[in-house]
């Protein structure tokens, strides 16, 4: 049949066709990414340079010397037309120049690198907890639709959507640290353990393993446990709900009937056939929840005295250190935007139905 031949030909030379369409996808992706990032920088530019009554004051703080004030005024190009100011802003960012933090007197970029690993470590741990529990919970809820476990999942999810996380953090510290003593208190390490391991990755759990220091590792885990579990719960709520809803759609598909008709055991029908079809959308869900944990850090890190980006941003906020606030916003925003745009791309690459 003619059909056979063309399709087989297509299968025989997949690399070639894949290449052209892949390049197209890549360009499309980079275009979207660039546009979105441009939008993000424009918004931070507006927030930093246009909205404040005196943007210079916002950058230097109100205790600055007149000379400093004048210098920064020149640097920002306040007298130039807006579009030139924006261009100036863009070129500086492109050079990695986010200005100097009034609070730490360091270049903002330097500070960002300093603080970022703590945020990364917490968000990653939380995501691991949330995903490892949330996906199975969502699957089981879908296969037991309308039964007890399904209702429990629904309620767990709705509670997760409704909790003010800064408050749960406080209550968690009160109960599990102050009253029960099950976990360590605020911060990443007890004071005595600070600086004992060589920072390689900046993730203390990894660094302590690298230098085989079990005491530090245990202490780091004790500190990580509570915030990671609370944030992990938020991820779990979101992931389990989405998993359930994706699974319900898949379980009603004809190919599930086919798998059963072939005599596949229910376990395989659910975990291989149905779940296999929702992996791609699930990756999107997980990436989005990861991104929201990064930005949620501004609230949680304050509560847990977690020395990450979130805390850096909020502390800068109170010191009227706009350079630092915007730098942090831009970094988190960039990661957020990249994850968002990347998800769309991943979807097109991983799903054979849409894969070019």
């Amino acid at each position: 049949m003619a059909n056979d031949v063309t399709t087989a030909a297509r299968a025989a030379a997949p690399g070639q066709i894949f290449g052209a369409e892949f390049a197209y996808e890549l360009i499309r992706f980079l275009g979207t990414l660039a546009l979105t990032l441009l939008g993000l920088t424009f918004v931070t530019f507006v927030i930093g340079r246009v909205v404040p009554i005196d943007p210079v004051l916002a950058v230097v703080g109100d205790r600055a010397m007149p000379e400093t004030y004048e210098r920064v005024r020149q640097e920002l190009g306040i007298d130039l037309p807006i579009y030139q100011q924006f261009w100036l802003y863009l070129t500086k960012i492109a050079e990695g120049d986010f200005g100097t933090s009034a609070m730490t007197s360091q270049p903002v970029l330097h500070d960002l690198f300093q603080y970022f690993p703590a945020t990364l470590e917490l968000a990653t741990a939380a995501t691991l907890i949330g995903v490892l529990l949330g996906i199975p919970l969502g699957v089981v809820a879908a296969t037991h639709q309308g039964r007890l476990i399904d209702h429990v999942t629904r309620i767990v999810g709705l509670i997760g959507y409704s909790i003010p996380v800064f408050w749960t953090g406080l209550v968690g510290l009160l109960v599990f640290y102050a009253w029960l003593g099950w976990v360590a208190g605020p911060g990443r390490l007890d004071i005595g353990y600070d600086g004992l391991v060589e920072p390689v990755t900046g993730l203390i759990t990894i660094d302590s393993l690298l230098s085989v220091d079990w005491d530090v590792f245990k202490n780091a885990i004790a500190h990580l446990l509570l915030p990671a579990s609370l944030l992990g719960y938020l991820t779990l709520a979101y992931v389990s709900r989405m998993t359930r809803s994706f699974m319900l759609t898949e379980l009603n598909q004809e190919y599930i009937l086919t798998a059963r008709a072939k005599g596949m055991p229910e376990r395989r029908v659910i975990w291989r056939h149905a779940l296999g079809n929702i992996i791609v959308p699930l990756i999107t869900v997980v990436a989005l929840s990861y991104a929201s944990l990064l930005e949620g850090a501004v609230l949680t890190e304050t509560v847990f005295a977690w020395p990450g980006l979130g805390q850096y941003i909020t502390r800068s906020l109170f010191n009227a250190d706009m350079n630092a606030v915007l730098g942090g916003t831009l970094l988190i925003g960039t990661i957020f935007v990249c994850l968002n745009v990347l998800c769309d791309m991943l979807y097109r690459l991983l799903d054979p139905r849409v894969r070019p």
């Binding site: 939008g39 927030i47 309620i155 409704s162 003010p164 009160l174 102050a178 609230l299 304050t302």
Partner: protein
């Protein structure tokens, strides 16, 4: 004919009867969902207390009584007092006014804005559509909380700034919904007929397209309200929202932090209020979605 019969009739005599009947039928389904009814009750309670707060027999939410400071919950102060001796129950109830006010203000800005952008984009199409949807997509990919934070920090901390900041980042989903609905009916025959009869595009959007979006928008709005409450409380907690002595729940948690170990109620109770109210909106929205938008559950 009894009232339910009149509502449930298969042959309504007027358009009014038909639409009331539809509402009644939806209500019958909604009523069977206990979680949704709990949500409705919570939201109703929030609205009633917020409206009645000034006439309820409460102590003043701002009057300080330093002799009574940090009193535990008891007969005189049911929920205890804070560090300035203010009655926490009164502050929670007056705080409900603020929370409700924030939610309503945000929604009042966001929904019309989103609908306008989405319908215009979908109805007019072409280059305008491309540009508007690009902007919408860009906004959708933004980190909302952190931009709101930076924005408030740049103007000045306060309730109005918080409301504007939240609103500025919340409209894109509504634009998406509105555009999708618009595209489905833009070329429907009845819309074409209206156009031939000389209806202006504004009239078409308002009379034919907006009503279609209403159910999805209502569902989305109810679910969003929970998120708005949490964001507003977060900004309040960081000191960027309502300023003292306003009894805003997030700010109350923030001051209560200092007394967490010994006077747990100061920080804990406002948190319960935030949780309960946003859970209420979530339960309500979930139930509404089951009734109004069954294909999306």
């Amino acid at each position: 004919m009894s009232a339910p019969d009149w509502l449930l009739t298969e042959a309504p005599a007027s358009r009014r009867q038909a639409s009331l009947g539809r509402w009644y039928r939806n209500w019958l389904v909604f009523r069977r969902n206990p979680l949704a009814m709990i949500g409705l009750a919570i939201v109703a309670l929030l609205i009633v207390t917020a409206v009645l707060a000034p006439v309820l027999p409460l102590q003043s939410p701002t009057a300080q009584a330093l002799s009574q400071r940090l009193a535990p919950p008891g007969a005189q102060h049911w929920l205890g007092t804070d560090e300035l001796g203010r009655d926490i129950l009164a502050r929670i109830i007056f705080g409900a006014r603020i929370t409700l006010g924030i939610v309503l203000m945000v929604v009042a800005i966001v929904v019309p804005l989103g609908l306008l952008i989405g319908t215009i984009s979908g109805y007019i199409g072409g280059a305008l559509d491309v540009v508007l949807m690009r902007i919408t997509d860009i906004f959708l990919a933004f980190p909302r909380l952190i931009l709101a934070l930076a924005f408030v920090a740049a103007i000045k901390p306060g309730l109005e700034s918080a409301i504007i900041a939240i609103a500025l980042t919340s409209w894109p989903p509504y634009a998406r919904i509105a555009r999708a609905e618009t595209l489905t009916v833009r070329n429907a025959d009845y819309v074409k007929v209206a156009k031939l009869q000389g209806a202006s595009w504004l009239r078409i959007i308002w009379h034919y397209i907006v009503p279609l979006c209403s159910t999805s928008v209502v569902v989305r709005m109810t679910l969003d309200m929970a998120g708005i409450i949490l964001t507003a409380a977060g900004l309040g907690f960081l000191g960027l929202g309502a300023q003292p002595p306003t009894p805003e729940w997030g700010a109350m948690i923030s001051t209560g932090r200092d007394f967490l170990l010994d006077q747990w109620w100061v920080a804990t109770i406002p948190g319960i209020a935030i949780f309960a109210v946003s859970l209420g909106f979530n339960l309500l929205g979930d139930g509404l979605r089951d009734v109004l938008d069954p294909k999306r559950t």
